[in-house]
Symmetry: C2
C-alpha cells in the first residue's frame, strides 16, 4: 500500500466534524489534526485521539500535511483563509457564495501559482455536484432548459433569519420544492417557473413567552429576500418539539435538464440527492476532491481549480485500470 494522504482540517463545526468522519471511512487517508481558532482544550472531536491545534502552529506543520480541507464559512472565513493558506498548502474549500466565485477564484489562483500549490475552490454539492450536472446537462442537450430545485431541506441561512425576528425564541426553516413544478419539468414541459412556483418555505417556530403569534408570523412571511417572494407556512411548536424533531440537518434537491434532440425527441436527465445529513455529505465531497487535489499536486498541476477542471477518475481511490475494468 502506498503512503496515506495526510489531511488537515481547518475549522471544526458541523462541516469539520463531517470531514473527520469521512476521512475515517477512507482507508487511503489519515487525519493529521484539527486546526482551530478556539482554545483546543474546548474542542471535542468525534475521535478523542485526534490532535487539536491552534491555528498558529499550522505553519510548522507544512511538511506533515498533503492537503488542508477548509471548513470555515464563506462569509467571514474563506475569503481570507483560502488565499492565505494556499501560499503554503494544497487546499480544498467549499466557498458557496455563487456570485462571488470568480473573485474568490482569482484571489486563490494567484498565490497558489506563485507558491506552486493546488487549490480546489467551491466543492460540495451546490456549488459542486449540482454544478457538474448543470454543465453536463447543458453540454449534452444544448436545446434544453436546466432546473435546480433544493430540498426538502433545512436552510441554515433562513433559520438564522427567523431567529433574528422579535418574539422568536428558536426555529428552523425547511425549503420544500414544489411537486407540481418538478412533475412538469420531468414530463419535458420545460415550464417557465417563478420563484414562488418552484419552492415553498416551511417554518417551525418557538415563541418567546408572551410574544404575539400573529405579529411574529407576519414579520416572518413578509421578510424581504428571505420569505416575501415565497409561499411561507409558519407552525408554532414548543422548545421540546424543536429539540426532538428538528435537530437533524437533512437536505437535498434536484438538477433536471430537459431538452430535445433530432426531430423533437424529448430527453430528460435528472440528478437528485436525498441527504440525511447535509454537512456530512458536503464533507464527503470535500474529502473525495482532496484525493484529486493530492494527485494533481503530484502531477505538477498548480493554481486554482473548480470541479469543472477535475477528471472524475481522480476522485476514486481505485487506479484507472481498475475503474475501466470494474465500473465503466
Amino acid at each position: 500500500m502506498t503512503a496515506q494522504i495526510r489531511i488537515g482540517i481547518v475549522g471544526y463545526g458541523n462541516l469539520g466534524r463531517g470531514v473527520e468522519a469521512a476521512i475515517d471511512r477512507s482507508s487511503d487517508m489519515q487525519l493529521v489534526g484539527v486546526y482551530t481558532r478556539r482554545d483546543p482544550a474546548t474542542v471535542e472531536t468525534r475521535d478523542p485521539e485526534i490532535a487539536v491545534y491552534r491555528m498558529d502552529v499550522l505553519t510548522e506543520h507544512t511538511n506533515d500535511i498533503d492537503v488542508l480541507i477548509l471548513c470555515g464559512g464563506s462569509k467571514n472565513d474563506l475569503p481570507a483563509q483560502s488565499p492565505e493558506l494556499a501560499t503554503r498548502f494544497n487546499i480544498v474549500d467549499s466557498f458557496d457564495t455563487h456570485a462571488r466565485i470568480p473573485e474568490h477564484f482569482a484571489a486563490v489562483d494567484a498565490p497558489a501559482r506563485t507558491a506552486g500549490t493546488t487549490a480546489l475552490i467551491s466543492a460540495g454539492w451546490d456549488p459542486g455536484m449540482f454544478s457538474l450536472n448543470r454543465v453536463f446537462g447543458e453540454a449534452l442537450l444544448p436545446d434544453g432548459d436546466t432546473y435546480t430545485f433544493w430540498g426538502r431541506g433545512l436552510s441554515q441561512g433562513h433559520s438564522d433569519a427567523i431567529r433574528r425576528v422579535a418574539g422568536v425564541a428558536g426555529g428552523v426553516q425547511y425549503t420544500v420544492p414544489s411537486e407540481t413544478a418538478i412533475a412538469a419539468v420531468r414530463a419535458g414541459d420545460r415550464p417557465e417557473l417563478t420563484t414562488r412556483q418552484k419552492h415553498t418555505r416551511d417554518c417551525f417556530v418557538v415563541l418567546d413567552d408572551g410574544a404575539d403569534a400573529d405579529a411574529t408570523r407576519q414579520a416572518i412571511v413578509s421578510m424581504p429576500d428571505y420569505f416575501a417572494d415565497y409561499d411561507t407556512t409558519v407552525t408554532f411548536i414548543t422548545a421540546e418539539e424543536l429539540a426532538r424533531d428538528h435537530s437533524a440537518m437533512p437536505h437535498g434537491g434536484f438538477v433536471i435538464r430537459s431538452g430535445v434532440t433530432g426531430d423533437g425527441a424529448t430527453q430528460t436527465v435528472e440528478y437528485s440527492l436525498t441527504l440525511g445529513s447535509n454537512p456530512e455529505f458536503t464533507a464527503s465531497v470535500l474529502v473525495a476532491y482532496a484525493r484529486a487535489v493530492h494527485r494533481m499536486s503530484i502531477a505538477g498541476q498548480v493554481g486554482a481549480y473548480t470541479v469543472y477542471d477535475i477528471a472524475p477518475g481522480l476522485l476514486s481511490p481505485k487506479s484507472p485500470e481498475q475503474l475501466r475494468a470494474e465500473l465503466l
Copy 2:
C-alpha cells in the same frame, strides 16, 4: 468566433444519424462528411447537403477533420476501426462491450500514442454517463452500494433474439426496471437483489401466419441468457400495431448510490435518464465528448482515454471563466 470543430462521421445507422442531428445543434461544430462502406449514393442523410464518401477516401481527408466520431457496432466494427483510425485521426467511439473494455483500451492506446492522436473510447450513457455516476457515487459514499437499473427501454439485442425464434414475424422487447426494487433502493434499504428482482422483460410479438402462440411464447420465455432468468411477458400484436406503437427507441435508467456517513445518516444519490430516443442521446454524448477530445488534442494529451479522464468543463462550449460565473 474561433474556427469550428470539424467532425467526420464513420458509419451511418441510427447512431450516425443522431450524431448528424447533434452537430446541427452545436454552433461550434461543423460536419465535414459521412464515411460509409455502403455505396454513398444509397445513403440518405438527414440534411441532403451533407457529403457522403466511401470509407477509402478518409485517408485523403486527414487534414480536413479534427475529430472522427465512430458510429459502428461494438461487435464487428469498432474493434478493428478504432485502433486503425486512431493512427491518423482523433477519435471518439461508443464501444459498449463492458467485459472487453480493457482490451479495447489497450488496442487503441498504443497506435494513438505512436501517432500522437487523442482517442476517447466507450462514451455514451452506459458505458458513459452511468459509468461516471458509478464512480462519483462510490467515491463520495465509500460505505454504500451502487445499483444500476435500465429501462423502461427498447433493447436491441433482446428484440433481435425474439426475431430469431421460429414462428415470430416481428417483435420488440422492453426492459422494465422493478418499481419495488427501485423504491427499496431509494429508501436506503440497500437490498440484495437477484437478476429477476431488478428487471422484467416485456415482449410485443407478431406471429407468422399459422404459428402456435403458446409454443412461441414458451420458446421466448425459456431462452437462456436472454429471458430464462427474468419474469417475461409476451403480448401478441398485429404487424400494424408493431409499426404504429413500437417504432420509437425510448430508453433510460437509473444509477443509485445509497450509503451512510457519520454515525449512520442515510445519503442517497440518484442519476436518471428518460430518453425519447436512445441513439440520439448516445449521439449527443459522443458529440460533447468530441469537443473535449479536440481540446485535449490541442493541449497535446495523446493516447486513449475514457470518460473518467475527462474534466467535465471540457464538454461545454463555454470558457472556464463563463462556467465559473454562470453555472458553478
